[in-house]
C-alpha cells in the first residue's frame, strides 16, 4: 500500500510560539485519519502544512511521493487545485454564489472544461441536487457543510483535509456529515485527514492520533497504518 502523506519532523513556529514540534507521520492511501487534541495543540497547523496553505519552518511533507515543501508558491497553488480538497469548520463558502457555483468554482479555477456534470454529480453525492441554486446563507449549517464537501470533491482530489468539519453542527447533523464522509472515503478511495476533538467524529475514523503541544503523543505515527483498520 502506498503512502499518501508522509511528514518528517515538521516544525512550525509563529514567532516564539512553536505550533508544531517535529511531527512525523505516515498515512497510507485510502485511510481516514483522525487527529485529536485540545485547542492549540497544533491539529489545524498540521493539516494546513499538509494541504500546502501553510509552510513548515522545518522538516518535509510529501504527498503521494511529491515533496510539497520545496515547491514554489505557484507550484503549490497548482498542486492544491487538483490534488487536495479542503473542508473548513466555518464552511468558507462564497456567500454570493449558489451551491452549484460554489462547487463549480474550484473546477473553474483549475481550468476544467466540462464542469456542470461533475458539479451536479458532487451535489448529488452529498444529496443537495435540489438545492443547487440556493445560496449558502439560505441553507442550514449541515447543508452548507455538505456543499463544502461537494466543493472539496469537485476536482477529484486524492487527499481531503477536513478541519473540525462538525465543529459548528449539532449531533444529528454531525452524524449525517460523518456518514457522508465515510461513504466518500470508502467509495472514492480518498485519503481523509480530519482534525477534531469530538469523540463522536473520531468514532468514524480508521485510526486516531493525538496531539499535544505540537507533538503527536499517541497513536501510530511512524509505521504505515492500514486503511479501513
Amino acid at each position: 500500500m502506498s503512502i499518501a502523506v508522509e511528514t518528517r519532523a515538521i516544525e512550525r513556529a509563529y514567532g516564539s510560539v512553536r505550533a508544531l514540534r517535529g511531527v512525523t507521520l505516515s498515512v497510507p492511501e485510502g485511510m481516514w485519519l483522525g487527529v485529536k487534541g485540545r485547542s492549540g495543540s497544533g491539529k489545524t497547523t498540521l493539516l494546513n502544512c499538509i494541504g500546502g496553505i501553510d509552510r513548515p519552518t522545518a522538516g518535509t511533507v510529501a504527498c503521494f511521493g511529491r515533496d510539497i515543501v520545496g515547491m514554489s508558491d505557484l507550484e503549490l497553488t497548482r498542486w492544491r487545485r487538483t490534488e487536495v480538497g479542503f473542508v473548513f469548520q466555518a464552511f468558507a463558502l462564497m456567500p454570493t454564489l449558489s451551491a452549484y457555483e460554489n462547487v463549480e468554482l474550484p473546477m473553474r479555477i483549475a481550468g476544467a472544461r466540462s464542469r456542470r456534470g461533475r458539479a451536479m454529480e458532487c451535489l448529488d453525492l452529498v444529496g443537495l441536487t435540489k438545492w443547487a441554486d440556493h445560496r449558502p446563507p439560505e441553507m442550514s449549517g449541515g447543508q452548507q457543510q455538505r456543499v463544502a464537501i461537494a466543493r472539496a470533491l469537485a476536482n477529484r482530489p486524492k487527499l481531503l483535509l477536513a478541519d473540525e468539519p462538525t465543529g459548528e453542527l449539532d449531533t444529528t447533523t454531525s452524524k449525517d456529515i460523518l456518514a457522508l464522509l465515510r461513504r466518500i472515503v470508502t467509495a472514492e478511495g480518498i485519503t481523509l485527514l480530519m482534525s477534531s476533538h469530538d469523540p463522536l467524529a473520531l468514532s468514524y475514523v480508521d485510526t486516531v492520533v493525538e496531539m499535544r503541544d505540537g507533538e503527536i503523543v499517541s497513536g501510530l505515527p511512524l509505521g504505515p497504518l492500514t486503511a479501513g483498520g
Binding site: I53, D54, L74, A90, I109
Partner: protein, 991 residues
C-alpha cells in the same frame, strides 16, 4: 457605572480599530472643513464685491471732483439743511435742529462714529471796504468786493494754516468774545488774493432782507431792512491738505466765506439778524472698517430710516444720497446676484459632503456589523450599542471640529484666491475670520457625521449573530430606494421641470429682474441640474449590476479571464456592498464635469461676447477730416446751406495702420445707418445697419468672434460669400425669411443721410443670425436689421468713403495706449479704442466673477477630493472585508497573481463604470442645462447664446486623480495580499 463602562468600551473600540477610526475621523474632518470653509469663502467673495464697489464709486467721485487720486473718501452720513428763500433759520432753530441731530440721529447710526463735524453758514453778505485803506485797490465803490457767508465749521484749526494774522476771537488761543468788542473773522487765501483783503483790514458786511410787517390789525406789507456789520479780518488761512477727508465742504468754497468762531456766531451774529442761517451740515464719519457684508443691509436700512425721520422733522433736512450709500445699495443688488450664483454652485457641494459623511459612516459601521452581532449575542442591548456609538461619535465629532475648523481657514483662503477656474492668484487672499454660519455648519456637519453612524449601528444592533448571517444572505437584494422606485419618482418632476426650462429657455423668468431672482423661493428650478443628476444617477446605478452581470457572462467562457469573471460576478451579485461608493463616483463625476464645463462655457462666452462686440483684438473708432476745415468732423453728406459742394470726409490711407507697432493686420468696418427697401421697393422706415467690411482681412481678424453657431453654416464660409461678387450682401436670416428673399436676388439699401440718401443695389449672397460688431451683445435686437457688404463696393457706389472703424489683429504683448498714440502721430483721428484683451482681463477680475469661479473651483476640487478619498476608504475597507474570501480563493487554488487581478478587477471595474456613468451624465447635464444658465430677464434671446464647451482637460484631471487613488488602493491591497495567509484569513470566521 454601566455608562462609564460602556464609554470605556467605546473608547477602547476606537483605539483598537485604528484604521476604521482614522477613516471616519478623516471623513468627518474633511466634511467639517468644507462645510465651514464655504460660507467663509462666500463671505470673502461678497466682501471683495463690497470693497470693489466702494473703491469704484470713490474713484468715480474723486475723478469728478478733481481730487487727487489717492484721496480717501470715508463712509459718511451727511445730513444737510438747505434753507433757501423764506426757509432761513433763526439761531434758536439751528439749536433745535442741532439737538435733534444729537439726540435722535447720532446715537442710532449703525456703525461706530469716528468723527462728527458740524457746519453752519448764513445767507451771503455783501462785503465792502470799511475805510480808506481800501483805496490802494482800484475798485468801484458802488460794487461790493464780493459776497460771502458767515460760517463756522467744527474742528477747523487742525486742518488749516494761517498765512498771516491771528485767529479770530473765540478760537482757542485767541481773545475771548465780548458783547461789545469787534467782530472778528478770517478769510481764505484765495479770497484774499482775489479781493486784496489782508489780515488786520476792517470790512463792512451788508445784507438786505425783505420782511413783512403789520401796518394795522388787518393788513401787512413788505419792507426792506438793511443790516450792517463792521468786522475785522484777523487772519488769512489756507487748507493744509485739500484732499483731506475732513472737508465736508470743499475748501475752495469755504475760502470764499468769512469764517468765525461758533461763539462769535452765537453771541454776536445771531443777535443782529433774526433769520439768516441758510445751510447747516452734520457729518458723521463712520468706521468703514466695521462695515461688513453682514451689516451692509442694516446700514442702508438705517440710512433710509434716518432720512425719513429727518425729513419728518424738517422738510429741508435731508440725508445726502451721495456715492457711498449709493454704492452700498448697488452692492446689495449685486450681492443678491452673487448669492444666487453661489447658492447654485455651493448647494451641490453640501449635498455631496453630506452624502460623503453618510457613506463613510455607513461603510465603517458595516465593517463592524459582525462585531455588533456578537455584542448583541453576548447580552448588549440595542440601547447599549446606541450609547456606545453616540459616545464614539461625540468624541470623533469634537476632534473633527477642533481640526476641521482651523483647516477651513486654509481651504477658504485657497478658494478666495481663485482668479478663474482652477487658477489661483500668486498672492493669496487670506481669509482671517469665519462668519457665524461657518461654525454652525461645521458643528452641524460633525453632528451629522456622528449621527450617520448611529442609524446603521442601530440597524445592526437589532441583529444577533444568526440574524447577521441571514442579513448577509440578503446582500444581493436591492437597496430601499430601488425597491421603492424613488429614482423613477424623482426623475418624473425633474423631467417635467426640464421641459419647462427648455420652453422658457432661461433660468430666470422673462420680465423679472435677475437680481431679484431668489433661489430659495424656487429651489427646484435652481437645483434642477443636481436633482436630475441625483435621479439619473440612482436610475443608472440600478442597471450597473446588470451590466456587470452581462460582462461576467461574456467573459465566463474565457479561462484566462477567470479572476475577471469572478470579480464581475461578485459585483453583479453584491450591489449593496458598493452602492454608496458607486453613487459617490457617479454624483461627483457628474457634478464636476458639469461644473467644469459650465466654467469653461462662461469663460469662453466672455471671450465670445467681447470679440463679437469688437470684431477683433482691437477696434479703433476713427473719423476723417472734413473737406470744409471750419466744420467739425462728422458724418458726411450734410450739404452746407451756403455751399453747393457737399461735405465729405478725408481719411488718411488706412494702410498706415500697419506701421503701428503691434498691429499685425487690419480691416475697415464701416457701421452705416441704412434703410432697407421692401418687396415693393418702398423704403422701410425701420432703422437698420450695414456693416461694410474688407472681407478678406476681416475674416482673418474676426476669426475668434465668428462662432459657427452664428449661422446655419460655418461663419467662415458665410463671410467668404462676399467674395463671390463685389455687390454681395449678407442678410439676417430672420429678415431673409420674413421678406421672402432669395440667394442671388437683388436688394436695395438707402445709405447715408436720408435727406440725400443714395440707393445702392446689392445681390443677396447668404444669411447669418449673429455677426460681429453689428449684432453683438449690445446691439438692440428689437429694432432694425443688420446687413453686411463689401466696403470697397459700398464706398464706390456712394462715391466717397464713409467713416469706418479699424478692426485689427494685434500682438498680445502690444500696449494699446501706445498703439493709439502711434495712430494719432500718423495722422489718424482716434476717438475711442476698444481692446478686447484688456476688457476680458478686466471682466475676469470682477469680484463677482471671481466669486463664481471660486465656487466652481470649490465644487470641482472638493468633489474630486471627496470622491478620491471616499473611493479609497471604500476600497480599503472593502478589501479588509474580503480578506476571508480571498483566503478561501487562495486555498481553492487561485494564485497570488490571479487573486491580485481579482482585486484589481473589482476596484477597476467599479471605478471605470462609475466614472463613465458619472461623466456621461455630466456631459448630458452640460448640454441640457448650461445654455439655460444664461440668466436674463429680457424677452429676447441673449446674444451670443451660451455654447456648451466641455472641459475635457479638467475632467481628465479627475480621471488622473481617480487613477492615482486606484493605484494607491491597488498597491495597498497588493501589499496586504502578499502578507495574507490563507489559513489565517479562513480562521477569521465565516465569509
Amino acid at each position: 457605572m454601566r455608562l462609564i463602562s460602556l464609554t470605556l468600551l467605546a473608547l477602547r473600540r476606537l483605539a483598537n480599530q485604528r484604521a476604521l477610526t482614522a477613516c471616519l475621523l478623516l471623513g468627518m474632518t474633511v466634511a467639517v472643513a468644507i462645510a465651514s470653509a464655504i460660507p467663509a469663502f462666500v463671505s470673502s467673495a461678497q466682501n471683495r464685491v463690497l470693497r470693489r464697489e466702494l473703491a469704484d464709486r470713490a474713484a468715480g467721485q474723486i475723478r469728478l471732483s478733481g481730487l487727487a487720486a489717492n484721496t480717501r473718501l470715508p463712509l459718511t452720513f451727511k445730513f444737510s439743511y438747505l434753507g433757501l428763500g423764506r426757509a432761513l433759520l433763526s439761531y434758536d432753530e439751528t439749536l433745535d435742529l442741532d439737538a435733534f441731530m444729537t439726540v435722535r440721529i447720532a446715537p442710532r447710526l449703525e456703525l461706530p462714529v469716528v468723527r462728527t463735524l458740524r457746519y453752519a453758514s448764513t445767507d451771503p453778505w455783501a462785503i465792502l471796504p470799511a475805510n480808506e485803506t481800501w483805496r490802494r485797490y482800484p475798485l468801484d465803490d458802488s460794487q461790493p468786493l464780493g459776497y460771502g457767508s458767515l460760517d463756522f465749521i467744527t474742528d477747523l484749526l487742525g486742518h488749516i494754516d494761517l498765512d498771516t494774522g491771528r485767529l479770530p476771537a473765540g478760537f482757542p488761543g485767541a481773545p475771548e468774545v465780548t458783547d461789545d468788542g469787534e467782530i472778528e473773522v478770517m478769510v481764505g487765501r484765495a479770497f484774499s488774493t482775489k479781493t486784496g483783503i489782508q489780515a488786520g483790514d476792517m470790512i463792512s458786511l451788508t445784507r438786505k432782507d425783505t420782511v413783512r410787517v403789520a401796518v394795522d390789525l388787518k393788513t401787512t406789507r413788505e419792507v426792506q431792512r438793511e443790516y450792517n456789520i463792521l468786522a475785522r479780518v484777523t487772519a488769512i488761512w489756507a487748507p493744509k491738505n485739500r484732499n483731506d477727508a475732513y472737508w465736508i465742504i470743499r475748501p475752495e468754497v469755504l475760502e470764499q466765506d468769512l469764517t468765525l468762531s461758533p461763539e462769535m456766531m452765537s453771541r454776536r451774529i445771531s443777535k443782529i439778524v433774526e433769520r439768516q442761517f441758510s445751510l447747516m451740515i452734520w457729518s458723521y464719519e463712520l468706521d468703514d472698517k466695521a462695515l461688513t457684508v453682514e451689516n451692509v443691509a442694516g446700514v442702508v436700512d438705517r440710512a433710509n430710516a434716518l432720512s425719513v425721520e429727518a425729513f419728518e422733522k424738517n422738510e429741508q433736512l435731508t440725508l445726502n444720497q451721495f456715492e457711498m450709500i449709493s454704492a452700498l445699495r448697488n452692492y446689495l443688488k449685486r450681492s443678491q446676484e452673487l448669492i444666487l450664483l453661489m447658492t447654485l454652485f455651493c448647494a451641490p457641494i453640501f449635498a455631496v459632503v453630506l452624502s460623503f459623511v453618510v457613506l463613510v459612516a455607513g461603510m465603517v459601521v458595516r465593517q463592524q456589523e459582525g462585531e455588533l452581532a456578537i455584542l448583541r449575542s453576548r447580552g448588549a442591548s440595542p440601547l447599549d450599542i446606541f450609547y456606545m456609538y453616540a459616545a464614539q461619535g461625540a468624541l470623533l465629532a469634537l476632534i473633527a471640529v477642533l481640526i476641521g475648523v482651523p483647516l477651513s481657514f486654509g481651504v477658504a483662503s485657497l478658494l478666495a484666491s481663485a482668479i478663474t477656474f482652477l487658477q489661483f492668484s500668486p498672492q493669496p487672499e487670506w481669509v482671517t475670520s469665519l462668519p457665524p454660519v461657518s461654525l454652525r455648519l461645521a458643528v452641524a456637519a460633525a453632528i451629522l457625521g456622528a449621527a450617520a453612524t448611529l442609524v446603521p449601528a442601530l440597524s445592526a444592533a437589532r441583529r444577533t449573530i444568526l440574524g447577521f448571517g441571514a442579513e448577509r444572505a440578503r446582500s444581493a437584494g436591492r437597496p430601499l430606494w430601488q425597491r421603492a422606485w424613488l429614482d423613477v419618482l424623482l426623475l418624473i418632476p425633474c423631467a417635467y421641470a426640464t421641459w419647462q426650462l427648455r420652453q422658457a429657455g432661461s433660468l430666470v423668468v422673462f420680465g423679472t429682474d435677475v437680481s431679484q431672482a431668489d433661489p430659495f423661493k424656487d429651489p427646484i428650478r435652481y437645483l434642477l441640474p443636481i436633482l436630475t443628476l441625483t435621479a439619473a444617477g440612482l436610475l443608472a446605478s440600478r442597471f450597473v449590476p446588470r451590466l456587470f452581470g452581462l460582462l461576467a457572462a461574456l467573459v465566463s467562457r474565457i479561462q484566462p479571464l477567470t479572476p475577471i469573471f469572478l470579480a464581475l460576478r461578485d459585483l453583479a451579485r453584491s450591489p449593496k456592498d458598493y452602492a454608496g461608493a458607486l453613487l459617490l463616483l457617479i454624483f461627483t463625476l457628474g457634478i464636476a464635469a458639469y461644473g467644469a464645463s459650465l466654467a469653461r462655457t462662461l469663460d469662453q462666452h466672455l471671450i465670445d461676447t467681447i470679440y463679437l462686440d469688437n470684431g477683433g483684438d482691437l477696434r479703433l473708432i476713427e473719423v476723417g477730416i472734413s473737406n470744409k476745415p471750419d466744420r467739425q468732423p462728422g458724418i458726411p453728406g450734410q450739404a452746407a446751406a451756403d455751399d453747393t459742394e457737399p461735405e465729405y470726409l478725408i481719411f488718411e490711407p488706412p494702410e498706415g495702420h500697419l506701421e503701428i507697432e503691434g498691429i499685425k493686420r487690419y480691416a475697415r468696418a464701416a457701421r452705416i445707418p441704412v434703410r432697407a427697401r421692401n418687396a415693393g421697393n418702398r423704403r422701410n422706415e425701420d432703422k437698420s445697419m450695414l456693416l461694410a467690411i474688407d472681407r478678406e482681412e476681416f475674416a482673418r481678424i474676426a476669426a475668434r468672434g465668428l462662432r459657427d453657431d452664428y449661422s446655419y453654416a460655418p461663419m467662415g464660409e458665410i463671410v467668404n460669400r462676399l467674395a463671390t461678387r463685389p455687390d454681395a450682401l449678407l442678410v439676417e436670416r430672420r429678415f431673409f425669411a420674413e421678406n421672402g428673399l432669395t440667394i442671388g436676388g437683388k436688394f436695395v439699401l438707402d445709405i447715408g443721410d436720408f435727406r440725400a440718401a443714395g440707393p445702392v443695389t446689392y445681390t443677396v449672397a447668404d444669411a447669418f443670425d449673429v455677426f460681429p460688431i453689428v449684432a453683438g451683445s449690445e446691439a438692440d435686437y428689437e429694432t432694425g436689421n443688420f446687413f453686411v457688404a463689401n466696403a470697397a463696393y459700398t464706398f464706390e457706389r456712394m462715391g466717397k468713403e464713409l467713416p469706418y472703424d479699424i478692426v485689427a489683429e494685434t500682438d498680445p504683448a502690444a500696449n494699446v495706449e501706445k498703439m493709439v498714440q502711434d495712430a494719432q502721430e500718423l495722422g489718424f483721428i482716434v476717438i475711442n479704442a476698444y481692446d478686447s484683451r484688456s476688457k476680458i482681463l478686466s471682466e475676469q477680475q470682477r469680484p463677482e466673477r471671481q466669486g463664481l469661479f471660486g465656487a466652481l473651483t470649490a465644487g470641482f476640487l472638493f468633489m474630486t477630493a471627496l470622491t478620491v478619498l471616499g473611493f479609497a476608504i471604500y476600497a480599503l475597507l472593502s478589501f479588509r472585508r474580503r480578506a476571508i474570501e480571498l483566503g478561501v480563493l487562495r486555498a481553492l487554488g487561485l494564485s497570488e497573481g490571479q487573486t491580485s487581478i481579482y482585486v484589481i478587477g473589482i476596484q477597476g471595474a467599479l471605478t471605470l463604470v462609475g466614472a463613465l456613468v458619472g461623466t456621461t451624465l455630466g456631459v448630458a447635464l452640460s448640454y441640457i442645462y448650461v445654455p439655460a444658465m444664461q440668466a436674463t430677464g429680457k424677452l429676447i434671446a441673449p446674444v451670443p447664446p451660451f455654447l456648451t464647451r466641455m472641459a475635457w482637460d479638467n475632467v481628465a484631471l479627475i480621471y488622473f486623480a481617480l487613477a492615482a487613488a486606484l493605484g494607491f488602493v491597488i498597491a495597498a491591497s497588493l501589499g496586504f495580499l502578499r502578507r495574507l495567509r490563507a489559513f489565517e484569513a479562513i480562521k477569521l470566521g465565516a465569509v
